[in-house]
């Protein structure tokens, strides 16, 4: 049983649950819900689609009509921010401090110095140094109500946006329906149970290059899963394969990092931060995650 896509999303019955699918944030989005009938599923679909689109439009770096654009083109002036943006910026600041500077939403400009299409790259050291002079969260002035970026600096919420959206959408559904929900935004996952001890969701982990073969499985009723690293995006420098995660402190990709790190935590956002942090620890990724006492899976 399925209903035709309307407003960009599709709803279909998948046996024990209903599946809502659409594309957003450059990823396939799938939301699985336990609910009683098609009209309930359709109502939930409408809610989550609107919320996902809202977040995408508001925080996408590629638009010219949102708060991120205003901040990135403020030319050194202070930009007042609303409550939601304020919370995200505050969170970004806390992550910056917690990661000793590795997690930095002002480091997006480094993309001008690197391409990760699998080809051989000779890094332009002068360009990298020039870009590094224009990044650094510590240079930003943020008091909770307004943010001021020095000229030439940019923020990029792409590293948090998808995970934040997954958590928000799951919370939205958990509030309006008593159903168990699984949100999967291209591998960034948030599950919420109905709180009555019902069975959890089974999530298969695929190995890149061997899709549809699950190399591992996790079962969660409540929590978030996020993966950092993408084995399709890499470059080769001096004969060494490097992933696409850049360390703002050096301006270069992290050497010796796993191909990917998947972390399970309370929320998708927390899992995403820990996964990114793991990658940024390069060869120490597993040791770092061991110290955090989370369930993880690193692929090398």
């Amino acid at each position: 049983m399925s209903s035709s896509p309307q407003g960009g999303y599709a709803v279909r019955n998948a046996g024990a649950h209903w599946a809502i699918t659409y594309a957003a944030m450059a990823s396939p989005c799938e939301i699985l819900v336990h609910c009683d009938n098609a009209s309930e599923a359709d109502e939930m679909a409408s809610l989550v689609y609107v919320e996902t689109m809202r977040i995408e439009r508001k925080f996408s770096r590629y638009r010219d009509d949102n708060i991120v654009h205003a901040i990135n083109h403020s030319d050194g002036a202070a930009v007042p921010v609303d409550e939601e943006t304020s919370r995200l910026l505050r969170y970004a600041g806390q992550c910056y401090e917690l990661s000793d500077g590795r997690f930095d939403i002002t480091s997006g400009i480094l993309r001008h110095a690197w391409t990760f299409d699998g080809g051989v790259v000779t890094p332009d050291d002068a360009l990298i140094e020039a870009l590094r002079a224009r990044l650094g969260w510590q240079r930003i002035e943020f008091d909770g109500a307004a943010v001021r970026l020095p000229r030439g600096m940019e923020i990029d919420l792409g590293g948090v946006g998808k995970e934040y959206a997954a958590d928000r959408v799951a919370a939205l559904l958990a509030k309006t329906a008593a159903a168990a929900v699984l949100v999967n935004f291209g591998g960034d996952i948030r599950a919420t149970g109905s709180g009555d001890g019902r069975r959890g969701w089974k999530i298969g982990i695929e190995e890149p290059g061997r899709e549809n073969v699950a190399v591992g499985q996790i079962e969660i009723a409540e929590g978030g899963v996020a993966t950092s690293g993408d084995s399709r995006r890499f470059c080769v420098v001096d004969g060494v394969r490097l992933g696409h995660i850049l360390d703002p402190r050096t301006g270069r990709p992290v050497a010796g990092a796993p191909r990917s790190a998947t972390v399970i935590a309370d929320t998708c956002t927390a899992a995403g931060f820990l996964a990114t942090m793991a990658m940024l620890h390069g060869p120490d990724a597993e040791a770092f995650l061991d110290a955090q006492e989370v369930v993880y899976h690193c692929m090398r």
Binding site: E83, R90, Y91, D266, T267, D284, A291, Q292, E293
Partner: protein, 429 residues
């Protein structure tokens, strides 16, 4: 990148993300709510009331919300007028002076000329000054045939300690205008005899000139989260009223003394008199706990005022979930009050008249219990329907220990037996 020990940061990450995500509650908590209820209240043999409330609240922005409440009620039926029963027929003058009503021997005198409608409007505006401080301002208006009221109120709350503790204080000022039908009677003067021609001296049924009353209220309180499943609160409230505090329709029987020919039989009726100020205070504590899917709420209020009344109120609410997001909620309330200093079931002729006197049983000593059961269920997304039935009973002493003569024969506390049914409907916008 150091080898060796890594700092555990998971707790911090969880805390930061919880703050970011609003820790379980969606930041934009809907755009508003409609809450409505219809109450049918019926005292056996006496007053019947139908009351409807419509409550609208709307979030105007992330910082501001407004609320509007409309209340309509219609009241009809008979209420004790304060006089004592007699072995003979009693005749009382109606409020307008022109009408009168008759009470049979042995019956508690009831004034059945009551019939009134009331409209009340309450508005409020709530503003978030910063993420942990909230300011509320509000107003109130109400009209009845013989009573109108307007008021303003304001309050401020602030959260502390990771939002676990909330302190709040609020104040209200209300001005009431009482316009008793036939004018406010002279207190402790005799009720005029029923007019034989059927015409009254006054405007016959119209509300007379108004008497004023001012009420000033202050409430200070603290809410405290005690644990993952428990929240508690403690409130102190103070209320000062001044002005016309009498009930213009209530009287006292002046009975013949013990040595007369008909001891305890009424010889006269006088209007009551209460002081023109009243200071009330109350201390209220509440505990709400979530226990394996059910919710328990226990509360207790201790009340005292300068009229000599003290009271205890204990309330018990339990919410039991039923399959499919339905809920069954039993409720029990126990109440005990002492009598006002100037409460007198009757006055004795020949004795010096007291400064203040009232036979209004609402100022007497009595116990009361309420038993209730409510059932609620979801209808549509975001809507909820509920039905409840309650029984309320007041029990008081038959009469004062020094009752004599005819007064010993009768139960001087009319008591109260009330059935109530409520239908409620709420919808999240």
């Amino acid at each position: 990148m150091q080898l060796g020990a890594h700092r555990p940061i998971r707790t911090a990450v969880t805390a930061f993300t919880a703050t970011l995500l609003g820790s379980g509650t969606v930041a934009a908590s809907g755009s508003g709510k409609i809450d409505s209820s219809l109450l049918i209240y019926s005292e056996s043999g006496r007053v019947k009331v139908a009351e409807g409330v419509l409550d609208l609240s709307r979030n105007l922005s992330e910082r501001r919300s407004v609320g509007l409440r409309l209340t309509l009620d219609a009241l009809t039926g008979a209420s004790p007028n304060g006089a004592t029963p007699s072995n003979h027929i009693q005749t009382f003058t109606g409020p307008s002076g022109g009408s009168s009503y008759v009470v049979n021997p042995g019956k508690t005198p009831l004034d059945d000329t009551f019939s009134d409608q009331r409209v009340a409007l309450d508005g409020s505006l709530r503003e978030s000054l910063n993420r942990i401080t909230f300011l509320t301002v509000g107003g109130h208006l109400s009209w009845e045939h013989d009573y109108s009221s307007f008021g303003v109120n304001s309050g401020i709350t602030r959260e502390f300690d990771r939002r676990n503790t909330t302190l709040g204080v609020s104040a209200a000022y209300t001005h009431d205008i009482v316009r008793p039908i036939g004018g406010a009677p002279d207190p402790l003067t005799s009720m005029p005899p029923p007019s034989t021609t059927g015409e009254g001296e006054d405007d016959g049924g119209e509300a007379g000139p108004g008497e004023g009353k001012d009420v000033f209220d202050v409430v200070a309180g603290v809410n405290q989260i005690l644990g993952r499943n428990t929240i508690a609160r403690l409130d102190y409230s103070l209320s000062r009223s001044s002005g016309y505090l009498n009930d213009p329709y209530k009287i006292l029987s002046v009975v013949q003394d013990q040595n007369s020919a008909a001891p305890g039989e009424p010889s006269d009726y006088v209007y009551e008199r209460r002081p023109d100020t009243r200071n009330k205070q109350a201390l209220f504590g509440e505990l709400r706990r979530y226990i394996a899917g059910s919710t328990l709420d226990l509360s207790y209020r201790y009340f005292w005022d300068d009229w000599g009344i003290t009271s205890h109120t204990a309330d018990f609410f339990l919410r039991l979930p039923v399959r499919g997001d339905h809920a069954l909620e039993p409720h029990f309330r126990w109440y005990r009050q002492s009598e006002a200093d100037f409460y007198n079931a009757y006055l004795v002729g020949g004795q010096a008249a007291p400064n203040y006197a009232s036979a209004d049983t609402r100022l007497a000593a009595f116990d009361a219990v309420t038993y209730g059961l409510k059932y609620s269920l979801p209808v549509d997304a975001g809507s909820r329907l509920s039905v409840s039935a309650e029984y309320y009973k007041q029990l008081g002493e038959r009469g004062p220990p020094d009752a004599f003569g005819v007064l010993r024969q009768y139960n001087l506390f009319p008591g109260l037996d009330v059935f109530m049914v409520r239908i409620g409907f709420s919808h999240e916008l």
